[in-house]
Symmetry: none
Subunit: 221 residues, 4 copies
């Protein structure tokens, strides 16, 4: 019987029971945690609220996650995962350098100014003093990784003769920061709640590309 069920597509996938292994319920809990953590921050969020938001009992939270901190870390990991998938291949699309950079920049800004992303940043930064490992992990697998990818892309373009850059790590960081200028900071501080319009994003990213190329583009001819 269970053999038949196993193979059937569309069947609810909870054949084998393992402690805290129902992925559906796990997702449900993370959804509730997301709602509460993002609205309240780490400390102000209570496990009670999270359980209510997730539609499970408090005890169930502890079946799926060791404690509040582990739940929070799992949530952050899930959100980063989404981001990574979103950013992949942003650079490879356009053969033209300025278009590739612009595409990358627009993608990046959209990502970073997304309310969830902003909120996650705020929370991680808020606990970074007490939970340095989380801060480091978030940084290394997020911003640092993004910078490394862009740096690798720039190295390719150096080889291709498109640009002349000595410190590609710095150059990548520069471009990334330029793309966010005037857009990210006010939102991170919650001084501006409205996401940037496409026009605003384009304006800033175009300016970033222009500046970047003014400095690093190899003179043609």
């Amino acid at each position: 019987m269970s053999q038949a069920a196993e193979g059937r597509p569309g069947t609810k996938a909870r054949n084998r029971r393992v402690a805290g292994a129902d992925p559906e319920k796990r997702r449900q809990i993370l959804d509730g945690a997301q709602a509460i953590f993002h609205a309240q921050g780490f400390d102000a969020a209570s496990m009670n609220e999270i359980a209510a938001a997730a539609g499970v009992s408090k005890g169930t939270l502890y079946v799926y996650f060791e404690d509040k901190e582990h739940l929070f870390v799992a949530l952050i990991e899930r959100e980063r995962e989404k981001h990574r998938q979103h950013m992949d291949d942003a650079l490879a699309e356009h053969p033209d350098l300025s278009q590739a950079l612009a595409g990358f920049g627009v993608n990046l800004v959209r990502l970073l100014t997304d309310p969830f992303s902003l909120s996650a940043h705020r929370i991680v930064l808020g606990v970074a003093e007490r939970m340095p490992d989380l801060g480091r992990a978030f940084f290394e697998r997020g911003p640092l990784l993004g910078g490394q990818r862009l740096a690798a892309f720039l190295n390719d373009r150096i080889s291709a003769g498109d640009v002349a850059i000595e410190d590609t790590t710095l150059a990548a960081g520069q471009f990334i920061d330029l793309c966010q200028s005037t857009l990210l900071r006010p939102r991170l501080f919650n001084a501006e709640r409205r996401p940037p319009t496409d026009a605003e994003i384009t304006h800033v990213v175009d300016a970033a590309v222009a500046m970047f190329l003014a400095r690093y583009a190899r003179p043609v001819g």
Copy 2:
């Protein structure tokens, strides 16, 4: 009324006192609050610890500050005040454009990567969701103001014919972000605890100036 009281004989000598008006004790409390808030973050800091660190009683805290949040806001304001004084005149010192920018940049990076500053940033960002007013105030009187000053400086230089810039607000933001590239973010996330060396700062700021001028410097002609 308080004037009348003043003259009355037999009154205790310290009659003109207003609630929480002893500036020395106020400073003392803020010093204690700084130590605890920076070490623990907003939520994890307890009023008990702060009172102990300040060497006053818990009750006294509430004479000088309405509640924990107001105490925290007052602390942040005091720290911002220090920063402002530090940044003033950084731009006016050098008549030479690139030197003025470099001086501003170095000052800025030193300021932002100072452990206290990093810690204040983290805490404010951590509570920005729940305390948007604090986030906004911190942004407006800090980063935004800094940008506006640099923008004003750039406008002067436009008039002087040194640079050609259309959007000075954006340009100021760009320069500020370029100065921090690769230096601020790892420290904000606590992935790097060591403050940047002078050489590192110079390297990044020089690159920022170079890029900025490559884009905006008016060709001497």
Copy 3:
């Protein structure tokens, strides 16, 4: 009723089963419960741990035992049963009075200072306030019964003219307590973890016999 069910065809083969009737599994559960209760005490022992130690699921525990308390009582009963079997015939072995008493005493002390026995005592005493029935049952079927047997034995010896005792119940109690002097109490309080050596036991029991006979032995002649 269960007879009718028995004959019905198509019924699952294991129909005569009554709730919690598999004696093997029952033993298995009690073994696990023994390990956990003795190591942790009644309150600190968790049904989870017991289920794990027994190698059954938590639900199964409740098939065999109504609740935690009933499980504990069943465990205590089982352990008492072992003791009873051990003590039986200890008195009948030796025709000589002092040898019979000494044999009984040594047996008794060995039994009472056994780690399991000590632990069971502690737990039962610890819950005796809340569970008076358990305390009473443990006492009546344990220490009281032992005393009664010894008293009966003494009555026989009175008839035989070996001893002269007015209050045999008291005399039996006295002998039992003398045998434990300085040996049981420190172990019950966990102030001494090492079981008494044979020499220690013999020393105390011999002293008990000597004292007992000094008081009650009929002068020969």
Copy 4:
């Protein structure tokens, strides 16, 4: 004003305030703790109930005692203190050996069969597995100490030529245990709730003295 109050006898003694130092409130809390711990045992007693029984808030409990365990230990210490005072000088009163022993025995039995004492014994034994230090402390400062005092007394009487004893430690233990025979155990197990009558106590203690002297008294001659 406070000067006057200070000197006056009968004034409530709370002049200086120290954290958790109001002895009146401390006593009040211990009284509440006694009521609840003795009725429920250590684990089943809740800090909530204790606070209610003591007529203070839950928080106040933690001003006076670090945690549940420390509160419990303090309670046990207080009760032991009462006992010690009660037992002191019990031996010194009578110059006659058998009267001294009988007085000691009666005192001892009254003490040990007091409901509070029984309850304290039960609780300490109940947690002795998990809190061996408490068990050891209770034993050493209680039963062990009592035995040592009696042993010292017996040594005096050996010197005086009243008794001939080789192992006074054992002899002291024997006498103590004889005094409790048939009286303590049923009450410890809660199988008998009625305290022993004076007649019962005298009966058992007299029998203990008789047995003790039959064994150890030096033949007059």
